[in-house]
Symmetry: C2
Subunit: 320 residues, 2 copies
């Protein structure tokens, strides 16, 4: 891919309205299709409509369509794929599993000339799935914004403000199609970032998917500590006071470290399933580091441990 645009950040600085006008011009007045009106799709609909753009949405259930209309998530909402007719850009705002195994009726209903982009949190498998269907018209994307909410009630204004919107174009991606999605990201105030799909997937495995496993393992260890013997990883010395004490004394440090590990189980499982190899590679790197820290504690090398923790304290701000 063009290394000149790797990691570049553009419209984050450009006013949203300018990007919206450019998007409108590139679309030649054609409406924007949004498939799925959950947190991402619903938030997109609200922001795009606020910018004066027309949004036509496809949803799975009639009840969702009705509620989406009430909330004003789109100008038109239907369970009939024909609602996408005439759209110049279609955003597939669906869960990873439905993006990897799309409804044939949806694929058939995509306008022949429309640019199609997705919002999946893993990119290489989606590029492999959709590029053969749409060639250069497909732009693999990942707006990295989220809340704990999901479903038709979750969409909110300004969700993407200042957040990264990653695109992972391939050599086949049409530059015009990429520019259209860049304008979309700019119109909702996101920070545009282009990189290779493999780099994206490796990065999110480390910073987003691995923390789920770490927090989950800590929760399981704390939940089983002092409990009855049995689980191969259970605390062998049974202690009737410890389980209650752990729950009484856990404070903000434990709460923060386990937040994503105690999050949405379906989402965590889908991410692991779709990014399995990179997640296992990140886990290997993590375990290497953890073993290094363990050896310092085992050797009572307190100067070494303090040097490692000092380096961590210095490095962390680079990630915030």
């Amino acid at each position: 891919m063009d290394s000149a645009i790797v990691g570049s950040w553009a419209p984050g600085a450009v006013p949203k309205m300018t990007a919206a006008i450019k998007l409108q011009q590139l679309l030649g007045g054609a409406p924007i299709g949004v498939v799925g009106l959950g947190l991402i799709g619903g938030s997109l609909g609200l922001d795009l409509r606020a910018q004066g753009l027309r949004v036509q949405a496809l949803v799975h259930r009639a009840a969702t369509a009705e509620r989406a209309q009430e909330r004003g998530l789109a100008d038109a909402v239907s369970t009939d794929p024909q609602v996408l007719g005439g759209c110049g850009l279609v955003v597939l705002a669906l869960p990873l599993d439905r993006l990897l195994d799309p409804d044939p009726a949806l694929v058939a209903a995509l306008p022949p000339a429309a640019v199609v982009t997705d919002v999946g949190s893993v990119k290489a498998p989606l590029l492999a799935r959709w590029e053969p269907l749409l060639a250069g018209r497909f732009v693999a994307g990942h707006p990295m914004a989220g809340t704990a909410q999901a479903g038709v009630e979750a969409g909110e204004r300004h969700l993407f403000e200042g957040r990264p919107w990653v695109a992972t174009p391939s050599a086949r991606t049409d530059p015009g199609a990429l520019a259209l999605v860049e304008a979309l990201a700019g119109a909702v105030g996101a920070r545009w970032c282009c990189c290779a799909a493999a780099d994206h997937d490796r990065a999110v495995a480390m910073i987003s998917h691995l923390p789920v496993l770490l927090g989950a393992a800590l929760l399981q260890a704390a939940a089983t500590a002092g409990g009855p013997v049995g689980g191969p990883t259970g605390d062998s010395s049974e202690n009737s006071q410890l389980p209650a004490l752990l729950r009484q004394l856990a404070s903000s440090g434990f709460a923060d470290t386990t937040r994503v590990g105690g999050g949405n189980p379906e989402l965590g499982t889908l991410m692991a399933r779709c990014n399995r190899e990179e997640l296992l590679a990140a886990l290997n790197q993590y375990e290497g580091q953890l073993q290094g820290l363990r050896r310092l504690v085992e050797a009572s090398d307190w100067a070494g441990l303090q040097a490692s923790l000092s380096a961590c304290a210095q490095e962390r701000p680079e990630f915030l």
Copy 2:
């Protein structure tokens, strides 16, 4: 120890003023000594003085004494251990290393009849160090409150409000001494909790000390990913884009999971040093859980992974 008081919670419900009056009565009007006016000692001084109790403080440096006076952290502040003369209760609000290896002049200056308590975050070694010196007059304690601040500027009102104040009495602990420290905790609005020192140390190893290592290992893994080959745990496939990408895309999930791992290196090292065996035991339990999750991912057992993550999502609220 008396199992009837294990895990019990009293003055958290009792109004602070009632506890302060009880404390005043138990002290027979004698002042309270505070050794060290950092976050814990300074906050104690402010809250106790606000309750009308007299606080006499011992600090290490003249500059600290001057600033502490300006801030009103105590009624009298001195670098001379004699300032503790006449105190009926002395709170050792010092770092773990100085509690484990106390200044002989401090030990010599402790009033012969005074109840002495500490605020160290590891209890068994402190009980072993101080009980031979003071017998039943020493009450091992751990007010579990903190901020990112430290030093003479860190003390603040209401720091202990609703937070656990753990005491770990032994068979030798005088019940009257324990009641005095319970009144102290109540006077600053803390939730009183008694347990065995070994249980406290095992619990904090899991919920407080282990999360430091986990967050630090994740930070080190993310900081070295894609970097030049070299470190035994470095990413072998060098990638010039990945380091920048990891820092651009890291968001709240990564920030929360690594918060304590990127915290105060001196404190993290002291906790590991003073609670080494329990920390290594907690790390073993954690690694057992992490290996279980790894096996589910390696086996592509997505139903099993989702079941584990669902259990974590259900268990987490018990710790908050």
